[in-house]
Structure formats: C-alpha cells, structure tokens
C-alpha cells in the first residue's frame, strides 16, 4: 500500500488551492508532482503528511487515514519540506541525532539506509547546518527525513535552487532509495526532472492536468512540433506569432517550437513566409515533443 488520494479539495478563504485531486502512488514507486509555484503542491504535501486538514476528500498513506490515523502516519513517513527546516545552530551530527531521538531510534540503528548520503557530508559533521552549502543542506535534510526508516518519503521541491551537479546526485540517491523499498512522492517545478520519475502528475492551479508515465504523456501529445530557427530570434518569434496558421509558438533554447493548426501543413510555405518577413538562415525541422510541450498544451 502506497499513497491513495481521492477527491481532495482545499481552500484558503476564497482561494481554491486544490480542487478535487485524486491519484494513487504504488508501493516503491517514484512519483512526481510536476507544476509551477502556486499549483498547490505544498498544500497537498501538508495534507498528506497530516499537517493540514483538507476541506473535502480522503487520503491514506500505507493504509492509514490522514485524519483518523495521523499518529501512525507520522511514525512511518519522512518529510522534507521545501524550505530548509533543520536547526541552523545545531551541527550536522546534532541535527541528525536530534531527529533520530525524536523518532525513538539512533543513528546507528538505521545507518545502512543513509550511509551513502551521509558519508558525503560526514567530513563536515561538526559544522553548523546554517553554514553548509545548498547541496550539502539538501543532503543533510534528506538524511534527517530518512533516519527513522520511513516507508514513504515526501520531498517538496528538494532541488529548487540547487546546481545541476547536486541535482543529478540527488536524483541518483532517490533511485537508490527506491531500491530499498521506499515509496517516494517528490514535487518539482522543473519539467526536465519529470523524466526521472516512474509516473508523474502534471498540476496547475490546484488541478491535475494529466497522470501517466513521462513516456506516455509525451506520446499523447497530438501535434507535430517543428524546431524553427533563423538569424534573429526576436523577429522570428514575432513573425511566427503573427502567422495566421500558428497554433503555438514557444521559445525553446536556440529554437522556437512551432505547431500549425492545419493537418496538411507544409514547412516550405512557412519558410517562404518567414523569408518575406526578411528573416534569413531559416531552418525548420521536425522534432520530438517534451514534457514541457505537453504541459503547455494542456495549460493553454
């Protein structure tokens, strides 16, 4: 039994933070909640970790109800909030000891679970948590969330503000934890991390847009996307947006992702149009959709 969420809604005064959210996370699954700031990710985490009560709906964590069995849930879940929430004035080791003691265990008892993460910060074990770099803070927070050997791990935007090297290491760690029979629910605003999850839910404005494997979400994207580039990016974007047959125009790094409203779209026509707009070095090539394309199409 992993996580079961059915018809959860939550409002703050007139603001609807979550609207009728339902999904299921299977045991040992790495499930991603992908959406921007304000989508409702943190509200959902707080409900599932029993820190907040939903207005409507039901949720269970490893079979325990978030309302009736909140004490059981707290024993069996690890939670890493988005904001660094360890004690800045305690050292690395003191923080870890503190959390172990709170949960009635010791560092030694569950050391095996955190070992390959903790060894990376052990050289700094006498340093105060407040003085650690972003990447190290994140590793310590993960150790503290794991020290009582939880069955389910909740990670709220663990990689926000962390550099690419630390992000990569962090995702590698999550994959290893999954092998140790831990169910993981992780949220991120970064679409490129979606591909690293088993399944994902795309969420925006308190509503789930789609739930599936990253591969299937991309597969279900129905339009043909073209990578368009030219000598001047700004003029290219403006020209494409002004084109009468455009369905979507989104800058994507050195290219613009373009989709057309017509099913019999001929790239040559578009090229002629762009040349008339005084653009040069025009290239139009078919490309694959990404999770970001899918998200934008659904959020449109």
């Amino acid at each position: 039994m992993g996580i079961l969420v059915s018809n959860i809604s939550k409002s703050y005064k007139e603001v609807k933070a979550l609207h009728n959210i339902s999904f299921e996370v299977k045991p040992k699954e790495l499930f991603g909640l992908i959406g921007p700031d304000g989508a409702g990710k943190t509200t959902l985490f707080r409900i599932l970790t029993t820190l907040l009560i939903a207005n409507e709906g039901k949720a269970t964590i490893t079979g325990f109800d978030v309302l009736n069995n909140f004490k059981d849930i707290r024993k069996h879940v690890g939670y890493m909030p988005g904001r660094f929430s360890l004690y800045q004035d305690l050292t690395v080791e003191e923080n870890l000891k503190f959390f172990a003691t709170i949960f009635g265990t010791t560092i030694e008892e569950n050391y095996e679970l955190i070992e390959d993460i903790y060894v990376q910060i052990e050289p700094f074990k006498n340093r105060r948590a407040g003085k650690l770099s972003g990447g190290m803070k994140q590793k310590l927070a993960l150790c503290c969330a794991l020290i009582h050997k939880p069955k389910v791990l909740f990670l709220d935007e663990p990689t926000t503000g962390v550099d690419p090297v630390s992000r990569k290491e962090f995702w590698d760690m999550l994959k290893r934890l999954q092998q140790k029979n831990i169910t993981i629910l992780v949220s991120t605003p970064y679409m490129d991390e979606a591909a690293l999850c088993d399944r994902i839910a795309l969420i925006q404005n308190g509503e789930i847009l789609q739930i599936d494997t990253p591969e299937n979400i991309v597969k279900q994207y129905s339009k043909v996307i073209y990578d368009v580039s030219a000598n001047n990016m700004y003029q290219l974007i403006n020209s494409l947006k002004a084109y009468q047959h455009q369905h979507s125009v989104y800058p994507f790094g050195e290219f613009v992702h373009y989709t057309d409203t017509r099913s019999d779209f001929n790239p040559k026509e578009l090229k002629t149009y762009l040349e008339e707009q005084k653009l040069s070095n025009i290239s139009i090539e078919r490309t694959q959709a990404t999770i970001e394309d899918s998200f934008m199409e659904m959020a449109k």
Partner: protein, 242 residues
C-alpha cells in the same frame, strides 16, 4: 576598451584571506548580447558578479562595465546598470505604481519621466487592473515581469539578472524570455546567472565557472559540439565534475 563591449574583464581576481574565490577571469560581453554566466554553487559566480556591479572591490585585474572602471568608478556603474534577482526585486507592501515611482526616484528620473515610464510599463504589461494593488498579492510570474521592467526603467546599458525565473510555469517563463529577447533586440545587454541549463540554451553565449575560473565560454551550440553532448546540462556536468 572596444566601444562595442559593455563588459570587459581582464584577469579579474578576488581573494579572501587564503581563498581565491575568483581566479583571473578574462571575458567580454558585447552590446545587445544575452550572456549566460553559469557555475556550480561555490564556483565564484556571485563574487564575480558583485565585482562587476560595483559592490565588491577586486583584489587585482581590470574590468570596465558600461564604460566605467570597477576600481575607480563603482558609483557610476551602479547608476548605469539594472539589477534583478529572484530573491529581492520589488517591495511587496507597495503597489505596482508605488514600486515604479520608488525605483524611478532611486535612479534619479524626473517626475515627468517617471509618469511617462509608469504609463508605458503598465500598458506594455497589460497591468491596468492591478496597477494600484500591492505587489505582494500578485502571482510570482507577474512580479518577475514587473521587476524586469523596473530594472530597465532608467534605460541602463546592461541588466544583471541573478537567477531570475525559478519556479514559474513554462508559459510564463517563456513570456519572460520574450521580454529579454526584446530588450536585447533594442540594444540592452543582458547578463544572466542561472542554475537551470535549459535557460542557458536561450543565451547567445555562456561562460561556465569552475573553482573560480572560467573553464568554457562559447555559444551553447558550439559548447554542445565541443563536449559532444546534446544539451547544456551535460556540458555542465562534464565540466563541473571534471
């Protein structure tokens, strides 16, 4: 200095005690260029940027920003650059209009000019309905667009964007980049730091700092070719992991 360069740095160095945070970096940024300044946490990016915006005196080397020397004309640099960061941008408990007036005043714009600029900015971003609302009540994406526009109020030659777009949805993020393209197209130089390598792909050229040094500097396309990978994230990982 080549008059087409808005930043020119040569051997720029900053040493704290026995730690060399920035180790003799040399690079230039051209007028109207979108320049990405990348590096891992602790690589020296922030220290380098502080020297370039005139709030930290270099230990050695030379640099000119917007035509002014970082050693002797730091105050002129501050007047001639724009700055925006995700961490601090606007005052949440002032309205949109008040923020514009405040920052216009800080940069020494006349009352008439502030009035014109306020109207321009509000029309441009379609903010009519929220112009008198507190900035704190607006969605993050709007705040980012407003703070970018505010950073451009005094028509600086160059704008420094310090991790500007974290957390917003992909559509809003692209609208923000379209604003950046427009500013660059109109001749403003853009200097941007980011942790997100997909954003690095939007830049004309990027530099990557590792342990205080610039280890790579080129267009994203050429860097990808050089490292034989298909995205900037892999370029970064190859460089930063050594």
């Amino acid at each position: 200095m080549n008059s087409n360069n808005v930043i020119q740095a040569e051997g720029l160095t900053k040493i704290f005690g026995d730690f060399t945070a920035v180790n003799a970096i040399t690079f230039e940024v051209k007028k109207g260029e979108i320049f990405g300044f990348l590096g891992a946490n602790g690589a020296g990016k922030t220290t380098a940027m502080k020297m370039l915006i005139g709030i930290s005196l270099p230990t050695s080397g030379a640099a000119q920003v917007a035509g002014f020397d970082v050693f002797t004309k730091a105050e002129d640099i501050k007047k001639n650059i724009g700055y925006m960061s995700q961490k601090f941008a606007l005052y949440d408990d002032l309205t949109v209009k008040e923020n514009i007036t405040f920052f216009g005043g800080i940069y020494g714009l006349s009352k008439v000019k502030i009035k014109i600029k306020t109207k321009e900015l509000i029309d441009d971003l379609g903010l009519d309905e929220v112009a008198n609302q507190l900035v704190g009540s607006l969605p993050l994406g709007w705040k980012q667009k407003i703070s970018f526009s505010v950073a451009l109020l005094h028509e600086p030659k160059i704008v420094f964007l310090d991790e500007p777009t974290g957390g917003v949805d992909p559509i809003t993020r692209r609208q923000f980049w379209e604003m950046i393209y427009r500013a660059a197209h109109e001749g403003t130089t853009i200097f941007v730091t980011t942790h997100y390598m997909d954003e690095a792909e939007y830049c004309d050229r990027v530099s990557i700092m590792v342990n205080g040094k610039i280890e790579a500097l080129d267009t994203p396309k050429k860097l990808k070719e050089q490292f034989q990978v298909d995205n900037m994230n892999d370029v970064f990982l190859k460089l930063a992991r050594g």
